[in-house]
Amino acid sequence: MRIELRVNGDDYRREVEPDLTLLHFLRDVLGLTGTKWGCLTGDCGACTVLVDGEPVVSCLQLACQVRDREVTTVEGLETADGLDEVQAAFVSNGAAQCGFCTPGMIVAVEALLRSNPSPTEAQVRESLSGNLCRCTGYNKIVDAALQAARARLLATDIA
Protein backbone atom coordinates (compact mmCIF):
# COMPACT_ATOMS: atom_id res chain seq x y z
CA MET A 1 0.00 0.00 0.00
CA ARG A 2 1.32 3.44 -0.89
CA ILE A 3 1.23 6.10 1.80
CA GLU A 4 2.28 9.71 2.02
CA LEU A 5 2.78 11.37 5.34
CA ARG A 6 4.87 13.97 7.07
CA VAL A 7 7.10 12.98 10.00
CA ASN A 8 8.94 15.62 12.05
CA GLY A 9 8.56 18.10 9.20
CA ASP A 10 9.82 15.81 6.42
CA ASP A 11 7.56 14.35 3.73
CA TYR A 12 7.78 10.64 3.07
CA ARG A 13 6.25 8.50 0.37
CA ARG A 14 6.58 4.77 0.99
CA GLU A 15 5.16 1.42 -0.03
CA VAL A 16 4.08 -0.40 3.17
CA GLU A 17 2.36 -3.65 4.17
CA PRO A 18 -1.28 -2.76 4.89
CA ASP A 19 -1.15 -4.12 8.44
CA LEU A 20 2.10 -2.34 9.39
CA THR A 21 1.64 -0.26 12.54
CA LEU A 22 2.75 3.35 12.72
CA LEU A 23 5.13 2.24 15.50
CA HIS A 24 6.89 -0.23 13.22
CA PHE A 25 6.84 2.21 10.33
CA LEU A 26 8.65 4.80 12.44
CA ARG A 27 11.18 2.37 13.93
CA ASP A 28 11.85 -0.11 11.14
CA VAL A 29 11.15 1.84 7.97
CA LEU A 30 12.32 5.33 8.97
CA GLY A 31 14.83 4.24 11.64
CA LEU A 32 13.33 6.60 14.24
CA THR A 33 13.91 4.37 17.27
CA GLY A 34 13.16 7.02 19.90
CA THR A 35 9.55 5.80 19.92
CA LYS A 36 9.57 2.63 22.03
CA TRP A 37 7.93 -0.75 21.56
CA GLY A 38 6.51 -1.82 24.92
CA CYS A 39 3.28 -3.80 25.04
CA LEU A 40 1.73 -3.50 21.55
CA THR A 41 -1.70 -3.41 23.21
CA GLY A 42 -2.11 0.27 24.00
CA ASP A 43 -1.48 -0.17 27.72
CA CYS A 44 2.01 1.25 28.37
CA GLY A 45 2.21 4.49 26.38
CA ALA A 46 5.90 3.97 25.47
CA CYS A 47 4.98 4.31 21.78
CA THR A 48 3.16 7.66 22.17
CA VAL A 49 3.54 10.08 19.23
CA LEU A 50 1.55 13.08 18.06
CA VAL A 51 -0.66 12.76 14.98
CA ASP A 52 -1.81 16.20 13.84
CA GLY A 53 -0.78 17.42 17.30
CA GLU A 54 -2.88 14.87 19.24
CA PRO A 55 -1.31 12.10 21.34
CA VAL A 56 -1.89 8.54 20.13
CA VAL A 57 -0.37 5.15 20.85
CA SER A 58 1.40 4.30 17.60
CA CYS A 59 1.16 0.54 18.25
CA LEU A 60 -2.61 0.68 17.71
CA GLN A 61 -2.51 2.88 14.66
CA LEU A 62 -1.94 1.43 11.21
CA ALA A 63 0.60 3.36 9.16
CA CYS A 64 -1.88 3.40 6.28
CA GLN A 65 -4.43 5.12 8.55
CA VAL A 66 -2.20 8.16 8.97
CA ARG A 67 -1.94 8.85 5.26
CA ASP A 68 -1.66 12.57 4.52
CA ARG A 69 -1.29 13.45 8.18
CA GLU A 70 1.49 14.93 10.25
CA VAL A 71 3.37 12.83 12.81
CA THR A 72 5.68 14.18 15.51
CA THR A 73 7.96 11.82 17.44
CA VAL A 74 10.31 12.56 20.32
CA GLU A 75 13.04 13.18 17.73
CA GLY A 76 10.96 16.01 16.27
CA LEU A 77 10.74 18.05 19.47
CA GLU A 78 14.30 19.34 19.52
CA THR A 79 14.62 22.95 18.49
CA ALA A 80 17.48 24.74 16.72
CA ASP A 81 18.84 25.64 20.17
CA GLY A 82 18.86 22.02 21.38
CA LEU A 83 16.44 20.27 23.74
CA ASP A 84 13.00 21.79 24.08
CA GLU A 85 11.63 22.79 27.52
CA VAL A 86 10.05 19.39 28.19
CA GLN A 87 13.15 17.41 27.27
CA ALA A 88 15.37 19.79 29.25
CA ALA A 89 13.13 19.54 32.32
CA PHE A 90 13.28 15.73 32.22
CA VAL A 91 17.08 15.96 32.27
CA SER A 92 17.34 18.54 35.03
CA ASN A 93 14.78 16.78 37.26
CA GLY A 94 16.31 13.34 36.89
CA ALA A 95 12.94 12.17 35.54
CA ALA A 96 14.40 9.12 33.81
CA GLN A 97 16.06 6.04 35.21
CA CYS A 98 16.17 3.24 32.62
CA GLY A 99 14.67 5.73 30.16
CA PHE A 100 12.40 3.31 28.34
CA CYS A 101 9.19 5.20 29.16
CA THR A 102 10.82 8.61 28.67
CA PRO A 103 10.08 9.30 24.98
CA GLY A 104 6.39 8.43 25.50
CA MET A 105 6.25 10.53 28.66
CA ILE A 106 7.86 13.51 26.96
CA VAL A 107 5.50 13.36 23.99
CA ALA A 108 2.49 13.01 26.32
CA VAL A 109 3.62 16.08 28.32
CA GLU A 110 4.19 17.95 25.06
CA ALA A 111 0.59 17.17 24.03
CA LEU A 112 -0.72 18.37 27.38
CA LEU A 113 1.21 21.66 27.30
CA ARG A 114 0.03 22.44 23.78
CA SER A 115 -3.61 22.31 24.91
CA ASN A 116 -3.10 23.47 28.50
CA PRO A 117 0.01 25.66 29.00
CA SER A 118 -0.31 25.86 32.81
CA PRO A 119 -1.67 22.53 34.05
CA THR A 120 -2.23 21.64 37.70
CA GLU A 121 -0.47 18.65 39.19
CA ALA A 122 -3.73 16.69 39.00
CA GLN A 123 -4.03 17.50 35.30
CA VAL A 124 -0.45 16.37 34.69
CA ARG A 125 -1.10 13.08 36.46
CA GLU A 126 -4.36 12.58 34.56
CA SER A 127 -2.71 13.19 31.21
CA LEU A 128 0.11 10.75 32.03
CA SER A 129 -2.24 8.03 33.27
CA GLY A 130 -1.73 6.07 30.05
CA ASN A 131 2.06 6.07 30.39
CA LEU A 132 3.63 3.41 32.60
CA CYS A 133 6.98 3.86 34.31
CA ARG A 134 8.51 0.87 36.10
CA CYS A 135 11.38 2.83 37.64
CA THR A 136 10.81 6.36 38.86
CA GLY A 137 7.63 6.26 40.92
CA TYR A 138 6.35 9.12 38.71
CA ASN A 139 7.01 12.04 41.08
CA LYS A 140 10.05 13.35 39.23
CA ILE A 141 8.22 13.00 35.93
CA VAL A 142 5.37 15.12 37.30
CA ASP A 143 7.90 17.66 38.65
CA ALA A 144 9.55 17.80 35.23
CA ALA A 145 6.22 18.39 33.48
CA LEU A 146 5.32 21.25 35.85
CA GLN A 147 8.77 22.81 35.46
CA ALA A 148 8.56 22.52 31.68
CA ALA A 149 5.23 24.35 31.76
CA ARG A 150 6.74 27.20 33.81
CA ALA A 151 9.82 27.37 31.58
CA ARG A 152 7.72 27.53 28.44
CA LEU A 153 5.43 30.23 29.83
CA LEU A 154 8.47 32.25 30.81
CA ALA A 155 10.00 31.79 27.36
CA THR A 156 6.81 32.96 25.62
CA ASP A 157 6.55 35.93 27.99
CA ILE A 158 10.08 37.05 27.12
CA ALA A 159 9.48 36.51 23.43
Partner: protein, 304 residues
Protein backbone atom coordinates in the same frame (compact mmCIF):
# COMPACT_ATOMS: atom_id res chain seq x y z
CA UNK B 1 -1.72 -11.22 6.86
CA UNK B 2 -4.63 -8.83 7.10
CA UNK B 3 -5.35 -6.65 4.11
CA UNK B 4 -6.86 -3.18 4.42
CA UNK B 5 -9.59 -1.74 2.20
CA UNK B 6 -10.07 2.01 2.27
CA UNK B 7 -13.53 2.96 0.98
CA UNK B 8 -14.24 6.46 -0.31
CA UNK B 9 -17.93 6.38 0.53
CA UNK B 10 -20.28 4.75 3.00
CA UNK B 11 -21.93 2.81 0.14
CA UNK B 12 -18.58 1.41 -0.89
CA UNK B 13 -17.85 0.37 2.71
CA UNK B 14 -21.21 -1.37 3.07
CA UNK B 15 -20.85 -3.05 -0.35
CA UNK B 16 -17.40 -4.37 0.51
CA UNK B 17 -18.48 -5.64 3.94
CA UNK B 18 -21.52 -7.36 2.40
CA UNK B 19 -19.45 -8.95 -0.35
CA UNK B 20 -16.83 -10.22 2.11
CA UNK B 21 -19.30 -11.19 4.85
CA UNK B 22 -17.50 -13.03 7.63
CA UNK B 23 -14.06 -12.17 6.28
CA UNK B 24 -14.08 -8.38 6.67
CA UNK B 25 -14.52 -6.24 9.76
CA UNK B 26 -14.62 -2.46 10.05
CA UNK B 27 -11.84 -0.56 11.80
CA UNK B 28 -12.05 3.07 12.98
CA UNK B 29 -9.89 4.09 15.96
CA UNK B 30 -8.35 0.61 16.03
CA UNK B 31 -7.90 0.48 19.82
CA UNK B 32 -10.03 -2.68 20.16
CA UNK B 33 -9.73 -4.16 16.66
CA UNK B 34 -5.92 -4.23 16.54
CA UNK B 35 -5.69 -5.72 20.03
CA UNK B 36 -8.17 -8.42 18.95
CA UNK B 37 -6.31 -9.28 15.75
CA UNK B 38 -2.99 -9.33 17.59
CA UNK B 39 -4.20 -11.62 20.36
CA UNK B 40 -6.01 -13.90 17.91
CA UNK B 41 -9.44 -13.04 19.32
CA UNK B 42 -10.45 -12.22 15.76
CA UNK B 43 -8.77 -13.18 12.49
CA UNK B 44 -10.33 -11.24 9.62
CA UNK B 45 -8.90 -11.31 6.09
CA UNK B 46 -9.86 -7.70 5.56
CA UNK B 47 -10.04 -4.58 7.66
CA UNK B 48 -12.30 -1.91 6.20
CA UNK B 49 -10.87 1.43 7.29
CA UNK B 50 -13.73 3.78 8.10
CA UNK B 51 -11.54 6.41 9.74
CA UNK B 52 -11.55 8.89 6.88
CA UNK B 53 -15.14 8.48 5.69
CA UNK B 54 -16.79 11.90 5.53
CA UNK B 55 -19.91 12.84 7.48
CA UNK B 56 -19.69 10.24 10.25
CA UNK B 57 -18.15 12.40 12.96
CA UNK B 58 -19.33 15.34 14.92
CA UNK B 59 -21.52 16.43 17.78
CA UNK B 60 -24.65 18.31 16.74
CA UNK B 61 -27.47 19.66 18.85
CA UNK B 62 -30.93 20.40 17.53
CA UNK B 63 -33.16 21.50 20.42
CA UNK B 64 -33.24 18.54 22.80
CA UNK B 65 -31.85 16.10 20.26
CA UNK B 66 -28.17 15.27 20.21
CA UNK B 67 -26.77 13.69 17.06
CA UNK B 68 -23.47 11.96 17.63
CA UNK B 69 -21.64 10.62 14.57
CA UNK B 70 -20.28 7.09 15.03
CA UNK B 71 -16.74 8.26 14.27
CA UNK B 72 -16.80 10.92 17.00
CA UNK B 73 -13.73 10.43 19.16
CA UNK B 74 -14.25 9.72 22.86
CA UNK B 75 -11.92 12.66 23.58
CA UNK B 76 -14.22 14.99 21.62
CA UNK B 77 -17.18 13.88 23.75
CA UNK B 78 -15.14 14.44 26.92
CA UNK B 79 -14.17 17.99 25.94
CA UNK B 80 -17.43 19.19 24.37
CA UNK B 81 -18.68 22.19 26.40
CA UNK B 82 -22.34 21.68 25.49
CA UNK B 83 -22.27 17.99 26.44
CA UNK B 84 -20.55 18.93 29.71
CA UNK B 85 -23.75 20.83 30.53
CA UNK B 86 -26.41 18.61 28.99
CA UNK B 87 -25.11 15.04 28.97
CA UNK B 88 -22.93 14.82 32.05
CA UNK B 89 -23.18 11.00 32.25
CA UNK B 90 -21.76 10.75 28.75
CA UNK B 91 -18.87 13.10 29.57
CA UNK B 92 -18.15 11.33 32.88
CA UNK B 93 -18.15 7.97 31.10
CA UNK B 94 -15.84 9.32 28.38
CA UNK B 95 -13.42 10.72 30.98
CA UNK B 96 -12.69 7.35 32.57
CA UNK B 97 -12.26 5.38 29.35
CA UNK B 98 -8.68 4.16 28.73
CA UNK B 99 -6.12 6.96 28.69
CA UNK B 100 -5.84 10.31 26.88
CA UNK B 101 -4.12 8.51 23.98
CA UNK B 102 -6.82 5.83 23.76
CA UNK B 103 -9.60 8.42 23.99
CA UNK B 104 -7.97 10.46 21.23
CA UNK B 105 -8.18 7.43 18.93
CA UNK B 106 -11.24 5.43 20.04
CA UNK B 107 -14.65 6.28 18.61
CA UNK B 108 -18.13 6.26 20.11
CA UNK B 109 -19.31 3.83 17.41
CA UNK B 110 -16.41 1.49 18.05
CA UNK B 111 -17.03 1.46 21.78
CA UNK B 112 -20.67 0.48 21.11
CA UNK B 113 -20.10 -2.02 18.28
CA UNK B 114 -17.29 -3.93 19.96
CA UNK B 115 -20.04 -5.25 22.23
CA UNK B 116 -17.94 -5.28 25.41
CA UNK B 117 -20.36 -5.66 28.37
CA UNK B 118 -18.18 -3.35 30.50
CA UNK B 119 -17.89 -0.57 27.88
CA UNK B 120 -18.48 2.99 29.08
CA UNK B 121 -20.53 4.55 26.27
CA UNK B 122 -23.50 2.13 26.28
CA UNK B 123 -24.94 2.84 29.74
CA UNK B 124 -24.31 6.58 29.39
CA UNK B 125 -26.14 6.67 26.05
CA UNK B 126 -28.92 4.33 27.22
CA UNK B 127 -29.95 6.77 29.98
CA UNK B 128 -30.21 9.47 27.31
CA UNK B 129 -32.71 7.35 25.30
CA UNK B 130 -30.28 6.85 22.44
CA UNK B 131 -31.41 5.50 19.09
CA UNK B 132 -28.87 3.81 16.81
CA UNK B 133 -28.93 4.71 13.12
CA UNK B 134 -27.71 1.93 10.90
CA UNK B 135 -26.98 1.56 7.21
CA UNK B 136 -26.58 -1.66 5.24
CA UNK B 137 -27.17 -3.16 1.82
CA UNK B 138 -30.90 -3.12 2.59
CA UNK B 139 -30.91 0.63 3.30
CA UNK B 140 -31.21 2.55 6.52
CA UNK B 141 -32.89 1.60 9.80
CA UNK B 142 -33.07 2.94 13.35
CA UNK B 143 -33.34 0.90 16.55
CA UNK B 144 -33.37 1.73 20.26
CA UNK B 145 -29.74 1.43 21.34
CA UNK B 146 -30.54 -1.44 23.76
CA UNK B 147 -31.40 -3.59 20.73
CA UNK B 148 -27.90 -3.21 19.30
CA UNK B 149 -26.32 -5.52 21.87
CA UNK B 150 -26.55 -9.31 21.42
CA UNK B 151 -24.03 -10.66 23.94
CA UNK B 152 -20.37 -10.35 24.93
CA UNK B 153 -18.54 -9.16 21.81
CA UNK B 154 -21.67 -9.45 19.66
CA UNK B 155 -24.17 -7.00 18.18
CA UNK B 156 -27.33 -7.42 16.16
CA UNK B 157 -25.73 -5.70 13.15
CA UNK B 158 -25.65 -7.76 9.96
CA UNK B 159 -22.22 -8.38 8.37
CA UNK B 160 -22.94 -5.64 5.82
CA UNK B 161 -24.27 -3.14 8.36
CA UNK B 162 -22.59 -0.14 9.96
CA UNK B 163 -23.64 2.10 12.82
CA UNK B 164 -23.58 5.63 11.41
CA UNK B 165 -24.83 7.79 14.27
CA UNK B 166 -26.73 8.02 17.52
CA UNK B 167 -29.63 10.24 18.36
CA UNK B 168 -30.09 10.97 22.05
CA UNK B 169 -32.30 13.15 24.23
CA UNK B 170 -30.35 15.82 26.11
CA UNK B 171 -32.57 18.37 27.83
CA UNK B 172 -31.06 21.77 28.58
CA UNK B 173 -32.82 22.26 31.93
CA UNK B 174 -34.61 20.36 34.71
CA UNK B 175 -32.57 17.30 33.79
CA UNK B 176 -29.39 15.74 35.11
CA UNK B 177 -27.34 12.61 34.72
CA UNK B 178 -24.33 10.87 36.22
CA UNK B 179 -21.92 7.99 35.52
CA UNK B 180 -20.12 6.14 38.31
CA UNK B 181 -17.73 3.24 37.98
CA UNK B 182 -16.13 0.71 40.28
CA UNK B 183 -12.64 -0.35 39.23
CA UNK B 184 -9.46 -1.59 40.85
CA UNK B 185 -7.12 0.75 39.00
CA UNK B 186 -8.50 4.04 37.81
CA UNK B 187 -7.06 4.66 34.35
CA UNK B 188 -6.54 1.98 31.71
CA UNK B 189 -9.02 -0.29 33.42
CA UNK B 190 -12.36 -1.84 32.60
CA UNK B 191 -15.40 -1.32 34.78
CA UNK B 192 -16.05 -3.92 37.48
CA UNK B 193 -19.44 -2.23 37.58
CA UNK B 194 -20.58 0.82 35.59
CA UNK B 195 -23.73 2.74 36.52
CA UNK B 196 -25.40 5.55 34.59
CA UNK B 197 -28.49 7.41 35.80
CA UNK B 198 -30.55 10.23 34.37
CA UNK B 199 -33.40 12.15 35.99
CA UNK B 200 -35.88 14.74 34.76
CA UNK B 201 -37.81 16.84 37.24
CA UNK B 202 -40.64 19.31 37.61
CA UNK B 203 -39.62 21.42 40.57
CA UNK B 204 -38.08 18.71 42.72
CA UNK B 205 -40.37 15.86 41.70
CA UNK B 206 -39.01 13.20 39.38
CA UNK B 207 -41.03 13.01 36.15
CA UNK B 208 -38.81 10.56 34.36
CA UNK B 209 -35.68 8.56 35.17
CA UNK B 210 -33.38 5.94 33.66
CA UNK B 211 -30.82 3.60 35.18
CA UNK B 212 -28.39 1.59 33.03
CA UNK B 213 -25.64 -0.80 34.05
CA UNK B 214 -22.38 -2.07 32.55
CA UNK B 215 -20.37 -5.21 33.31
CA UNK B 216 -23.13 -6.98 35.24
CA UNK B 217 -24.93 -8.81 32.42
CA UNK B 218 -24.01 -10.24 28.98
CA UNK B 219 -25.16 -6.91 27.51
CA UNK B 220 -25.43 -3.33 28.81
CA UNK B 221 -28.68 -3.22 30.75
CA UNK B 222 -31.46 -0.65 31.05
CA UNK B 223 -33.30 -1.24 34.36
CA UNK B 224 -36.98 -0.38 33.88
CA UNK B 225 -38.16 -1.32 37.38
CA UNK B 226 -35.78 1.13 39.06
CA UNK B 227 -37.25 3.89 36.91
CA UNK B 228 -40.83 3.23 38.01
CA UNK B 229 -39.82 3.32 41.66
CA UNK B 230 -38.42 6.85 41.58
CA UNK B 231 -40.93 8.61 39.29
CA UNK B 232 -43.32 10.82 41.26
CA UNK B 233 -41.03 11.12 44.29
CA UNK B 234 -38.55 13.74 45.44
CA UNK B 235 -36.00 10.94 45.49
CA UNK B 236 -35.46 10.56 49.24
CA UNK B 237 -32.68 8.13 50.11
CA UNK B 238 -35.10 5.24 50.94
CA UNK B 239 -36.52 5.47 47.43
CA UNK B 240 -33.07 5.67 45.83
CA UNK B 241 -31.96 2.66 47.90
CA UNK B 242 -35.02 0.71 46.78
CA UNK B 243 -34.15 1.48 43.14
CA UNK B 244 -30.66 0.19 43.90
CA UNK B 245 -32.06 -3.10 45.24
CA UNK B 246 -34.20 -3.48 42.13
CA UNK B 247 -31.23 -2.86 39.85
CA UNK B 248 -29.23 -5.46 41.78
CA UNK B 249 -32.07 -7.95 41.33
CA UNK B 250 -32.34 -7.20 37.60
CA UNK B 251 -28.71 -7.86 36.74
CA UNK B 252 -26.95 -11.18 36.19
CA UNK B 253 -23.23 -10.66 36.76
CA UNK B 254 -20.54 -13.31 36.41
CA UNK B 255 -17.55 -13.88 38.70
CA UNK B 256 -14.21 -13.06 37.12
CA UNK B 257 -10.90 -11.33 37.83
CA UNK B 258 -12.72 -8.03 38.44
CA UNK B 259 -15.03 -9.33 41.14
CA UNK B 260 -17.45 -12.06 42.16
CA UNK B 261 -21.07 -12.00 41.06
CA UNK B 262 -22.22 -11.33 44.64
CA UNK B 263 -19.78 -8.46 45.06
CA UNK B 264 -20.85 -6.90 41.77
CA UNK B 265 -24.52 -7.12 42.76
CA UNK B 266 -23.69 -5.45 46.06
CA UNK B 267 -21.81 -2.66 44.24
CA UNK B 268 -24.82 -2.11 41.96
CA UNK B 269 -27.11 -1.69 44.97
CA UNK B 270 -24.71 0.94 46.36
CA UNK B 271 -23.79 2.87 43.19
CA UNK B 272 -27.29 3.10 41.71
CA UNK B 273 -28.74 5.21 44.55
CA UNK B 274 -25.63 7.41 44.56
CA UNK B 275 -25.83 7.98 40.82
CA UNK B 276 -29.57 8.68 40.99
CA UNK B 277 -29.12 11.19 43.81
CA UNK B 278 -26.37 13.07 41.98
CA UNK B 279 -28.44 13.08 38.77
CA UNK B 280 -31.39 14.46 40.76
CA UNK B 281 -29.25 17.14 42.44
CA UNK B 282 -28.05 18.16 38.99
CA UNK B 283 -31.60 18.21 37.61
CA UNK B 284 -32.85 20.40 40.46
CA UNK B 285 -29.89 22.76 40.15
CA UNK B 286 -28.54 21.91 43.62
CA UNK B 287 -25.30 20.48 42.22
CA UNK B 288 -23.00 23.24 40.93
CA UNK B 289 -22.44 23.13 37.20
CA UNK B 290 -19.05 21.81 36.16
CA UNK B 291 -18.37 19.92 39.40
CA UNK B 292 -17.66 16.31 38.50
CA UNK B 293 -19.16 13.46 40.49
CA UNK B 294 -16.57 11.95 42.86
CA UNK B 295 -15.32 8.64 41.47
CA UNK B 296 -17.26 6.49 43.94
CA UNK B 297 -20.24 8.84 44.15
CA UNK B 298 -19.59 9.73 47.81
CA UNK B 299 -19.66 13.46 48.53
CA UNK B 300 -20.15 15.85 51.40
CA UNK B 301 -21.68 19.32 51.45
CA UNK B 302 -18.15 20.74 51.37
CA UNK B 303 -17.57 19.29 47.90
CA UNK B 304 -20.42 21.38 46.49
Amino acid sequence: MVDVFVPDTLDEAVGFLGHHAGAAIPIAGGTDVLVDTRTGRSAPEWLVDLSSLPGLGGVELDGEVLRLGALTRIRAVELDPELQRRAVALVEAAKVLGSVQIRTMATVGGNLCHGTPSAEMPPALLVHDAVAEIVGLGGRRSIPLAELFAGPGRTTLGPDELLTSLRARVRASSAGSCYLRQTVRWSMDLAGVGVAASVEVEGTTVTSARVALAAVAPVPLLVGSATETVVGTDLPSEVADEAGRQAAAACSPISDARGTADYRREVVSVLVPRALRIAWLRATGAWPEGVPAPVNGVWTEEDL
